[in-house]
């Protein structure tokens, strides 16, 4: 059969159409079915974006709400050298002063470079970090500078493509990284540096996203890092060709939850007083270090904790490791005579002695177990109260004999020596308390005067606070509460009693004895206050290797003695120009106590003279103007 020509053409056309439709159909199946997953992921990668929201790290405030540490968002400034081309020198000259970096070095980093990766592909350096932690204001200045950048070309004579290059150079060659970063700021610089600690910054990948993390390295920043950090938020969204967000296509969104604010028990005013007085102590006695702690005995709240030499947490790397160490909790030493409170209060609690009981102090020389035990001055018969007043080693050793090894060891442990106090700071050490089985024959005569044992200054001040608090040992408190960003309290910490170490009666008798220490015949008359009765104890311990001039001098006292508000410890490590605790540390206890009482407006315990309203500041010490002895 022969088909007509039109019919053949029609058939051919139909065949072509069917073939074309088949080809299109195959392509459709290929795109929509066979390569569906691959293409879907590709399309998502092109448009979908996950934006991470950085939570603001919580602030640290003192008990009165004064700011001790805060965070500000900052930028990481980067550059794309391929967009800068031959103008690296001019760009560097314009922005180096704003970034506070060396111009020549910056110009070097802005040079376009080629490199080959492991796959053999040639790559350009399109992402160069110029500086991290740049303030937003500085970044705005950089943007303005780049926009007004004068270059050594006549741009009116350029082609359209060349003009595009210079437009990109001005607007896109220097940019801020989209990753949010924040800088920790300590506005008081070194104030309470050892308590606050400092932070470090690290970069890590979370769910495939690069993030910059600020982490506490030391102090409260480290202990409460999880509370301060907050929780990162995110948003799933889509972007257009220019990588601008298409807001209507936003999907999931979870806002970042900022970190909690930490309110410390520290009072910045008292901390300032303490640090100023320690600076004076350093100037006067040039010790290796000077430390002080101010505690409320009734609650265990720490109002101030300072150690000199100190550091600036804004730039911790500029200081030696020794300056960054919190000696109040990390360093141990033999406490010396301040430790006599343990043996005497233990003996009083066991009714083994009374304050009036007499002991023969052997005129300053006492042989025990073949070794000589000395007093600084030769005393004959002394009462228990006088043993404390004069700080007799022989007398306290004889009280220790009465208490016995097991009894003495029990009270030492009961006061908390040999255990960490539980203060929320990293690096606290427990000190050294040997078990009774490891004691030698001399131990029972040496431990009562604070030898053969090692404690931290914090342990000693907490032991003294126990006496001041009627025999109740409190856990040291450094954090008052946690607040959210709106100032609502999330957690409030309460004072915690650890145990009743001695009875209130024994503690009261001990206070009576300690009051005599600051009397004119005691070891620390310079610690006495004008309007308050003070109870306290001096300590002068030799340091290993027990060479001349190597002393650990201290004074720990509290006031008002019968209803204590504050317990203060001052410790000087190897002071010069005198080494007795009563002559080196006690005057600074006096200054701190006097100024702190004035700052807190403590009601005077003793009668005060008639009001004298005078404008002469030299007559009156206080927070703002210190009186020097």
């Amino acid at each position: 059969m022969v088909m007509s020509v039109p019919y053949r053409r029609l058939l051919m056309l139909a065949f072509l159409l069917v073939t074309a439709f088949c080809a299109l159909g195959y392509r459709l199946v290929d795109l929509q079915v066979l390569r569906h997953d691959e293409l879907r992921d590709w399309a998502k990668n092109n448009t979908q974006r996950r934006v991470l929201f950085e939570p603001r790290r919580g602030e640290i405030r003192d008990v009165r709400g004064n700011l001790l540490a805060t965070s500000v968002f900052v930028k990481t400034i980067c550059a794309d050298p391929t967009l800068i081309g031959p103008h690296a020198q001019e760009v560097a000259r314009a922005i180096a002063p704003l970034l506070e970096v060396n111009e020549a070095e910056l110009a070097q980093r802005l040079q376009p470079r080629l490199r080959t990766n492991e796959l053999g592909n040639v790559l350009t350096n399109r992402y160069v970090v110029l500086k991290r932690k740049v303030k937003v204001e500085t970044w705005q200045s950089i943007q303005d500078t780049m926009e007004d950048l004068k270059l050594s070309v006549d741009e009116t004579q350029l082609t359209r493509t060349e003009r595009g290059f210079y437009r990109n150079l001005r607007h896109k060659s220097v940019f801020a990284d989209s990753l949010d970063d924040q800088q920790r700021v300590y506005p008081n610089e070194s104030l309470a540096a050892h308590v606050l600690g400092f932070v470090g910054v690290g970069e890590r990948v979370v769910d495939g996203e690069r993030v910059i993390e600020t982490t506490g390295i030391e102090g409260i920043e480290r202990t409460l890092n999880s509370k301060l950090s907050g929780v990162r938020g995110w948003r799933m969204t889509e972007t257009d060709r220019s990588r601008r967000e298409v807001v209507p296509f936003r999907e999931q969104e979870v806002q970042a939850r900022d970190g909690l604010n930490v309110v410390l028990t520290i009072d910045a005013g008292i901390q300032h007083i303490v640090e100023m007085e320690l600076a004076e102590a350093i100037k006067k006695h040039t010790p290796i270090s000077a430390s002080a702690i101010v505690v409320r005995p009734k609650t265990g709240e720490i109002l101030a904790m300072a150690t000199l030499p100190t550091f600036d947490p804004n730039k911790p790397g500029d200081f030696e490791a020794a300056a960054r160490r919190n000696r109040v909790i990390c360093d141990i030493s033999e406490p010396g005579s301040t430790f006599k409170i343990v043996v005497v209060s233990g003996a009083l609690n066991e009714h083994l002695v009374t304050l009036q009981d007499k002991f023969d102090c052997e005129h300053g020389q006492f042989y025990y177990a073949g070794k000589l035990l000395r007093d600084h001055h030769g005393y004959g018969i002394l009462s228990v109260e006088e043993i404390i007043t004069k700080s007799s080693n022989i007398g306290s050793a004889k009280i220790g004999f009465k208490l016995g090894e097991e009894g003495l060891h029990g009270y030492i442990r009961s006061y908390g020596f040999g255990d960490r106090t539980g203060i929320p700071l990293p690096g606290e050490v427990a000190g050294i308390v040997h078990p009774v089985k490891n004691w030698n024959k001399l131990s029972i005569s040496r431990i009562p005067m604070g030898h053969e044992i090692a404690s931290t200054p914090l342990q000693m001040v907490m032991a003294m606070s126990t006496i001041a608090n009627g025999g109740k040992a409190m856990r040291p408190m450094l954090v008052n509460r946690l607040e959210d960003q709106q100032g609502r309290t999330v957690v409030r910490y309460q004072p915690q009693m650890v145990r009743q170490v001695v009875s209130p009666e024994a503690a009261s008798q001990m206070v009576q004895a300690l009051k005599t220490v600051v009397a004119t015949n005691g070891t620390a008359p310079k610690a006495a206050l004008e309007y308050y009765t003070v109870a306290g104890k001096t300590g002068t311990a030799q340091k290993p290797p027990y060479a001349p001039g190597m002393y650990f001098s201290s004074f720990i006292g509290f006031f008002p003695a019968d209803d204590p508000e504050l317990c203060i410890s001052v410790v000087l490590d190897e002071p010069k120009h005198g080494y007795y605790g009563g002559t080196t540390a006690a005057p600074f206890f006096h200054n701190i106590a006097e100024r702190t009482a004035s700052y807190l407006n403590l009601r005077p315990e003793l009668p005060v003279p008639d009001p004298q309203f005078t404008n002469n500041p030299k007559q009156r010490p206080g927070l703002l103007t210190a009186r020097r002895n």
Binding site: P187, N188, E565, N601, R603, Q612, G622, L624
Partner: protein
């Protein structure tokens, strides 16, 4: 008997034409409305973005100001300023404080008392 359509008057049938025009108009309006709404969504999205940026900037400025204020109120900074400006400010001394003892209401009389040891025992200390 059926009418002869050949002899029928040649009148225009407007009904279907109007329907067709209305349908076209409806489709056109719907299309324009859709595009307009899309445009509005896009414009509002841009506004949202701008306002978010503004809010973020205002929050930053607010934080900056509150930090500046907090810094100026720090005891150490106040102390330093007092020294710099030589204002001669000193804290009140116990001898300069007159303490009022609050007694039960006795007809409006107020007793003023010097602080002595016997008066303060058992009383609040931190005032």
């Amino acid at each position: 008997m059926a009418r002869n359509r050949k002899n029928e008057a040649a009148g225009v049938r407007f009904g279907p034409a109007i329907k067709a025009v209305l349908l076209c108009l409806f489709i056109a309006m719907a299309a324009i409305g859709f595009v307009w709404q899309k445009s509005q969504i896009g414009a509002l999205g841009q506004q949202i973005k701008e306002r978010e940026l503004k809010l973020s900037e205002l929050k930053r400025q607010n934080k900056l100001r509150s930090d500046q204020l907090a810094q100026m109120r720090l005891p150490s900074v106040i102390d330093m300023r007092v020294r710099e400006l030589r204002l001669g400010l000193v804290p009140t001394q116990p001898s300069q404080i007159v303490r009022m003892v609050e007694l039960p209401y006795d007809g409006g009389q107020v007793t003023m008392e010097r602080p002595v040891a016997s008066a303060v025992r058992g009383g609040a200390n931190n005032q």
